[in-house]
């Protein structure tokens, strides 16, 4: 039942393996016992010869003698009995026929030995001893073969020589059965023993098969883990060797357990020091290179005294090199087993940092200067634009003053002084005097008109000057928060812009077409910024028209409203813009004019973005004019602080993209 229980726990593969192991075990026992009996056979043969020579060497007749039959029997019969089984053991070990032959031979050898020893009772024990020996095979069938030979021997002797085996001349025909029965008696115990042995073998085979399976599984797992470990180790090794840091691992017994080549290179350690694996030697070898040996040593000792401590510091060398030193404990299963030292050569970085700091200082200075230049450029550009208008206005005022009839009033006054005595007659009789009242009326009218024109120009001049003031103020606002918004009428702003460029437009013969939505709401914006943008756009449109050489130059200013946003489009039929220029038209410094600065559209786009709006461009290409659209929110975006607006404005690149995309 044990065997069944042992096998019941096995799977099919293990059961087959157990069966194979059992058969292998049996075969091993068969072969081993075969060899044992082969040697025993030879021994028995020699022992038989020796017994024959000792007990009955000769047979006599009077004084004559000759070799006893027993000697020949021992030599030849004994040899025949022993030789064939021995031959089978040599040629066919482990086979059933071999062991059955051995069983038969062993019983025949018993018969021979009993005979050679004169039928001594003691020699009969050879039969029972041989049966016990045959049980070594753990094959009950072998005992059957032996028993058959014993029974047959007694049976035949009982018939032909009963006295030789039973000591009496007449005997019951079943007497042989009694003798064979005693052999069977021993066989019974041997059968039980063999059966138990086979059970034990089966049990062992089952356990071994199970163990092998478990071992195979363990070996497989070990193999997998080993492969994983090898992979991890290779990764670790590759990582160690590929890192730019020098790494050293030391256990708490002061042995170097690992390091990478970089470490050896960085510390310029001799190979023999590294090969010694002695951390102390390595430490002594590097000390001479350091600026501050004592601090270095103290730190190392301190860290070894505190196994759980982590540290970071820098190490300076006499040759100017600087290493960063990181150290942390190496833990195995949560326990500190050693310490990992990581060194990074930061000499170049430190040098670069120093240079960077220097450059940074220079950059700060340069930036400050550059910032001032930018401010100056903006001021000059915008002020320059306005100054054009101022110049036109002053020219007009000057020409008007040159053409003024005010001089004629002085001549009239001189005529009155000349004819003061006869003023009445002069006015009534003199032909010139009679025309004076009408002339004075005309002159008054003319001077009134002239005054009106001058007032108009002076107002425009005043506005331009105020604009200049605003521009300056706006540029100043780059340096401080301003963001002062006003509620304005867009139409007025557009008109102001047109008016500021009116002279130039008139001179170049550009016809201005206004297309304003009838119910435009007021918007809250930074007025001067919008004005600046519009002046720029109108001025650019005028240039585009002038450069086109067309005779029907016209510029349309369209103001529309929708989606809480106001859109002011300045459309010209001028030279147009090539597609490749559209993407960079808002870039700082980009211009197609010889005397351009590349600043107006750039600053205009920035300003539009600052106000939560956008400046877009569209052109169907050269010769097809262009359209610039300023889009502004009716109300400035909530939470959009002027400072933020300025920050956004500084992100010029992002803005340009937005602008172009919006235009498209």
């Amino acid at each position: 039942m044990q065997t069944v229980a042992a096998y019941a726990a096995l799977n099919d593969v293990a059961t087959k393996r157990a069966a194979m192991l059992f058969e292998q075990g049996q075969d091993c026992i068969y072969r081993r016992t075969d060899r044992f009996f082969a040697r025993l056979m030879v021994f028995q043969w020699l022992a038989g010869i020796a017994a024959a020579l000792w007990i009955s060497p000769k047979t006599w007749a009077g004084a004559s003698s000759q070799t006893h039959w027993h000697v020949w029997a021992a030599i030849f019969l004994g040899g025949a009995i022993a030789s064939f089984p021995a031959f089978l053991v040599w040629k066919q070990p482990g086979r059933a026929l071999t062991r059955h032959t051995i069983a038969v031979a062993q019983m025949l050898a018993s018969a021979l030995l009993i005979h050679l020893t004169g039928g001594r009772i003691e020699t009969h024990f050879h039969v029972f001893g041989s049966l016990a020996f045959l049980a070594f095979y753990r094959d009950w069938r072998v005992l059957i073969s032996a028993t058959i030979i014993v029974a047959a021997d007694h049976f035949v002797r009982g018939i032909y020589w009963p006295q030789s085996v039973y000591g009496v001349l007449t005997v019951s025909p079943w007497r042989w059965f009694e003798h064979a029965g005693w052999v069977l008696f021993e066989d019974t115990f041997l059968f039980i023993s063999i059966r138990q042995s086979l059970r034990d073998m089966l049990e062992v085979a089952a356990r071994r098969a199970n163990l092998e399976e478990v071992n195979a599984d363990i070996e497989r797992q070990v193999g997998e883990r080993t492969a994983e470990l090898a992979n991890s180790l290779s990764v670790l090794h590759a990582t160690l060797e590929s890192t730019a840091d020098g790494i050293l691992v030391v256990d708490y017994q002061g042995r170097i357990t690992n390091f990478n080549r970089k470490f050896a290179e960085m510390w310029r350690l001799p190979q023999e020091v590294l090969a010694s694996g002695d951390d102390q030697q390595a430490l002594m070898a590097v000390l001479a290179q350091l600026k501050d040996e004592e601090t270095f040593l103290r730190k190392v000792k301190q860290l070894y005294a505190l196994p759980e401590a982590e540290s970071y510091d820098t190490v300076e060398f006499k040759d100017g090199r600087v290493f960063e030193r990181y150290s942390q404990p190496q833990r195995i299963a949560g326990k500190s087993a050693g310490r990992v030292w990581c060194f990074r050569d930061v000499t170049e970085r430190k040098r670069a940092e120093a240079e960077l700091e220097n450059v940074h200082k220079q950059l700060v200075d340069t930036s400050r200067q550059a910032g001032m230049a930018e401010v100056a450029t903006g001021v000059l550009h915008n002020v320059g634009n306005v100054l054009n208008s101022v110049n036109v206005s002053t020219t007009l005022v000057s020409e008007n003053l040159k053409r003024s009839k005010a001089g004629n009033l002085a001549r009239v006054a001189a005529m009155f002084r000349e004819h003061a005595a006869d003023l009445g007659a002069f006015l009534t009789a003199d032909p010139k005097g009679k025309q004076l009242p009408a002339y004075l009326g005309q002159l008054a009218d003319h001077l009134t008109r002239e005054q009106s024109a001058l007032l108009k120009e002076s107002n425009l001049l005043k506005k331009n000057i105020e604009h200049i003031k605003d521009i300056v103020a706006m540029q100043q606002s780059y340096a401080k928060v301003s963001g002062v918004t006003e509620v304005v009428n867009v139409s007025d702003l557009v008109e102001d812009s047109l008016r500021m460029n009116a002279g130039a437009l008139t001179r170049h013969g550009v016809q201005v077409i206004r297309k304003f939505d009838p119910h435009l709401p007021e918007i809250t914006v930074e007025k001067h910024k919008v004005l600046q943008i519009l002046v720029n756009l109108i001025r650019n449109a005028k240039y585009a028209c002038a450069e086109s050489g067309r005779t029907d130059m016209e510029m349309t200013v369209r103001v529309t409203n929708g989606d809480d946003r106001m859109r002011i489009a300045v459309v010209d039929n001028g030279v147009g813009i090539p597609a490749e220029n559209l993407a960079r038209i808002f870039n700082h410094g980009f211009t197609t004019r010889k005397d351009g600065h590349g600043f107006g559209l750039h600053s205009g786009a920035l300003a539009a973005k600052e106000m939560g709006g956008a400046l877009c461009v569209h052109s169907d290409g050269p010769g097809h004019g262009a359209m610039f659209t300023l889009e502004l929110p009716i109300q400035p975006p909530e939470g959009r602080a002027p400072a933020q607006a300025r920050q956004s404005a500084s992100e010029t690149h992002g803005f340009r993209q937005d602008a172009v995309q919006h235009r498209a």
């Binding site: 007990i55 009955s56 006599w60 064939f84 021979l112 005979h115 004169g118 006295q163 000591g167």
Partner: protein
Amino acid sequence: MSLESLWRAMLTLLCIPLAAGAGAPDRSSAKSSFRTIIAALIWLGVTVTATLLMVAYANAPGQSGSPPMIWPKSSQVPRDADHPTLVMFVHPHCPCSKASISELSLLMTYCQEQINAHVFFLKPAKMVRDWVLTASWREAAAIPHVTVHCDEAGHEAQLFHAETSGDTVLYDAKGNLLFHGGITISRGHSGDNPGRSALQTLVLDQSAQQTQTPVLQTPVFGCSLFEAECQKGSVKCKQ
């Protein structure tokens, strides 16, 4: 059941492969097994036959003598007038006779003081006396109530017509032959045997001596006391 099927069943029982499919891997192996079985059977036949021949030889008795029915007066052996007298003739070098002496020892144990025993060891004339003093001599001399003699030139053996070593005769107190033959079951084999049993009965049972007719006789197993040309009282044997 045919003989072949019986044969196969026996081989199967003994787990001996006979042909392919019965455990042998291929035809050649089966052929080899068959040859081996045949060789084993031949070997078995030869060894069993030789063993039987050996047994047959062991059970083949020597030449049995015909001792005188009345104690020969010329014998030098002093016959006991009160008890039966046993005389055994032994070849001192006969290995088989050790068993006879052993059986004599056993007999004397059973028949203490009831019998007078003499053992004559043959000494051919050409041999020196030491030739007689063998282990058998010493064993016989050690048996109580047994007298050993050196039978010079086989004189006494010839008087009692003894032919084979181990030949034993028993005469009653009056000198009448009661028994003659061997007291072993086969050559050199000790153990219960008809000769010893008969002697034991004759010695211990007086009535058996008186009623015993004819003389009891058993086969003698041992070497010849005389060479072939000396037997049957040949003159040559008196060398």
